[in-house]
Symmetry: C2
Subunit: 344 residues, 2 copies
C-alpha cells in the first residue's frame, strides 16, 4: 500500500485544531471563524482528504444514497431514465445504487434488501412487477416512488402513502394513435404486447376503447405477445402470424418490438407503410433512424428519470409527499404509417 488513507484527524492535526472543529469547518458551520475555516480547508485540499462515506453515514444517520430499481439496464428506454435519474441525484449530492429486476419478483425483493442494507434514503422502482404494497413492507413506505406507464394498478392502490407516483399518459397516447390511424383510413387495427407487462394490458384496453369510440369492433388482440426482455427473440413467429392475414395497422408495445416486427415482416415481403402501418411506443433515438422511420408515441424518458430523482430528494429533504404526476406523451408521426384507401 503506497500510503495509508488520509483521515479527518490528519487534517485537524495539520490545521492545528480538533477533529470536531475540522469537521465543522469542512461543512461551513457558522460557528467556525473565517481564518480557522480556510486553514482547515487548505489542509484538507493539501492532504487530498476524502471523507469516508461509511463513517459519516453511520454517525450522521443519512447515507445520501438512492436506490434505483428498473426492469432492465441494457435497453435504451431504461438507460435513458437511469442516466437522467443518476444525473439529477448526483447534482444534489446523492449517489445511486442501480439494480435490475428483470421482471422477476425475487430479484426485485433482493434489490430492495440491498437498498435497505445501504440505508438508501429513497427508492425508485421503474417498470417493476412487485406490488406497491409489498414493496412498502420492505422499506420506508413514504420513501418509495413508483414509475410506471401503467395507470391501473397504481391508481387502484390504496395503501400507505408513497413518496410519489409518476406515470406516463399511455392511454392518451393510444387515443392519439388510434385517432390518427382511423383518420388516415385504417379500419383493421391490431395490438401486439410484450410478455406480461401490465402496460400491455393498459394499451390493449385503450386501443379497444378508442376503436369502439370510432364504431370499430374488430378484435384487437389477435396475436401472441412477444417474449419479454428485449431479447429480440420470437419476432419472427409473430410476424408469420401477422403475415398470414395482415391488418391495416399494428400498434406495438414499444419501439423495440415495432422495429423488430417491421424487420421480420419485411423479410416476408410486407412493407410499412405500403402494406401495413406500424406504430411503436417510447420514442427512442432509433425510432427516428429506421427505414421507414417509425411513427411512435414519444414519452419524456429523461424527464421521467429526472422527476423521479427530484421528487424523491425533495421528499427526503422536506418530508412532504409530492402529488402523483402523469406525464404527457406525444404522437410523433413519421413514415411507418401511411394512408389507406376508404375501403382496402
Amino acid at each position: 500500500m503506497p500510503h495509508r488513507r488520509v483521515l479527518l484527524a490528519d487534517v485537524a492535526r495539520m490545521a492545528g485544531v480538533s477533529r470536531s472543529t475540522a469537521s465543522r469547518a469542512l461543512v461551513d458551520d457558522p460557528r467556525i471563524s473565517e481564518p480557522t475555516r480556510t486553514a482547515v480547508q487548505h489542509a484538507a485540499a493539501d492532504l487530498r482528504y476524502v471523507p469516508d462515506a461509511a463513517a459519516r453515514s453511520l454517525r450522521a444517520r443519512h447515507s445520501r444514497i438512492l436506490g434505483l430499481l428498473l426492469a432492465n439496464l441494457s435497453d435504451p428506454v431504461h438507460g435513458q431514465i437511469a442516466a437522467a435519474f443518476k444525473e439529477t441525484a448526483w447534482a444534489s449530492g446523492y449517489r445511486v445504487i442501480i439494480a435490475a429486476g428483470m421482471q422477476d419478483p425475487a430479484l426485485e425483493r433482493t434489490a430492495l434488501r440491498i437498498f435497505t442494507e445501504h440505508a438508501a434514503e429513497g427508492i425508485a422502482m421503474v417498470s417493476c412487477v412487485l406490488a406497491p404494497s409489498e414493496a412498502q413492507t420492505r422499506t420506508r413506505p413514504d420513501r418509495l416512488i413508483m414509475v410506471q406507464p401503467d395507470h391501473r394498478r397504481v391508481r387502484r392502490y390504496r395503501g400507505p402513502l408513497l413518496a410519489g407516483v409518476i406515470m406516463t399518459d399511455d392511454a392518451s397516447g393510444v387515443e392519439m394513435v388510434v385517432d390518427h390511424l382511423v383518420a388516415t383510413g385504417h379500419q383493421d387495427i391490431a395490438y401486439v404486447g410484450s410478455g406480461d407487462r401490465a402496460s400491455s394490458t393498459v394499451h390493449r384496453e385503450a386501443v379497444a376503447r378508442a376503436l369502439r369510440r370510432h364504431g370499430i369492433h374488430r378484435a384487437v388482440d389477435r396475436y401472441p405477445s412477444a417474449a419479454d426482455g428485449w431479447s429480440g427473440q420470437g419476432h419472427d413467429e409473430i410476424a408469420a402470424l401477422i403475415a398470414a392475414a395482415p391488418p391495416d395497422a399494428l400498434i406495438c408495445y414499444d419501439d423495440m418490438l415495432a422495429l423488430g416486427l417491421m424487420d421480420a415482416l419485411r423479410q416476408r415481403g410486407i412493407q410499412a407503410p405500403q402494406d401495413i402501418s406500424i406504430v411503436g411506443f417510447d420514442g427512442i433515438l432509433f425510432a427516428g433512424l429506421s427505414n421507414p422511420r417509425l411513427t411512435t408515441v414519444s414519452t419524456p424518458l429523461s424527464e421521467l428519470g429526472q422527476l423521479a430523482a427530484a421528487s424523491l430528494i425533495s421528499t427526503i429533504q422536506s418530508g412532504t409527499l409530492p402529488p402523483a404526476r402523469v406525464l404527457p406523451v406525444e404522437l410523433v408521426i413519421r413514415e411507418s404509417t401511411g394512408v389507406r384507401g376508404p375501403r382496402a
Copy 2:
C-alpha cells in the same frame, strides 16, 4: 416512522446470546455451535434483520462496493456493458455505484472521488478520457481496470500496474472490414469518426494501413467527425459532404453513427448498399433491425462488462493481477454492404 430499524442487538437479545455471537452465527463462523447458529438465524429471519452496510464497512474494512465509470449510461453499448458488469458484481456480493464521465475529465475526476468516499474496492473505467496514470493517483493503482477499444494509449502506458486492461481488437475488426470491402470491389473507402474519441484514431489508422496493404492510397479521413455523445446531431451536415462525392464505402465509428448517416444519406437519395456501402462498429441490437440491416463489427459487450467485474473481484480477493486481455471481434456481414463493379 412505523418502527425503528432492527439491530443486531435485537437479534442477539431474541436469540439469548451476545452481539458477538449473533454476528458470528450469521456469517457461519465455525466457532459457533449448531443450535446457537440456527437460533440466531431464525431470530434474524423473524425480525427481518437487515445488517447496516455502513457500520459493517466501517469496522470490517471492506465496502463490497465497485465503482463503474463509463462514458455514457444512456447508449445501448454502455448500457449492455453496465448491465453485465452489475450482474456479475451482484452475483459475487458486490454492489456497484455507476457514474457517467461524458468524455469530461472533470466529471471523471469527480466520479473517482465519489468512489473513494464510498471506499470502492475496485474501479472500472470504460471508454474514459482520463489517462491511466492520472486515474491511478486518485485511487489504489492496482484496483483499477481500464476497458477501452483503444489499444494505443493503454499499450503505451508504463505506470504502476493496473488491476487489468481489457480491450477489444478493433484493429483486427478494421482489417476484416477492409478486406471484405476490397474483396467485394470497393476501392474508395472513407472513415467517419466520432468526437475526439481515441478509438477513432485507432480506427482511422487501421483503415489506412489496411488499404495500403491492398495498394490503395486514397485519403481515408475525408469527412469531419460527428459530434460526440450519441446526440444524433450533426449527421446531416456530414451527410451533405458525403453526398457531394460519395465514396464506395463508409466505415463509421459505431453503429449509432452508421445508422444515423445511413438515414441522413437516404434523405438525400443515397441508398445503401446500391449507392454506398456502410459499416458500423459494436453490433448493437438495432444494427440487425435496420433497413438495410447494418454490416458491423460486433464486439462482445456483455462479455466485456462481465470480464471487467470478474477480473476486479478476483484481483480484490486474491491480490493477483490478471493479464491484459484483448477480446476478439467479429465481422457480421449484412445488407448495408454490397458488391461494386470492378471499376465503378
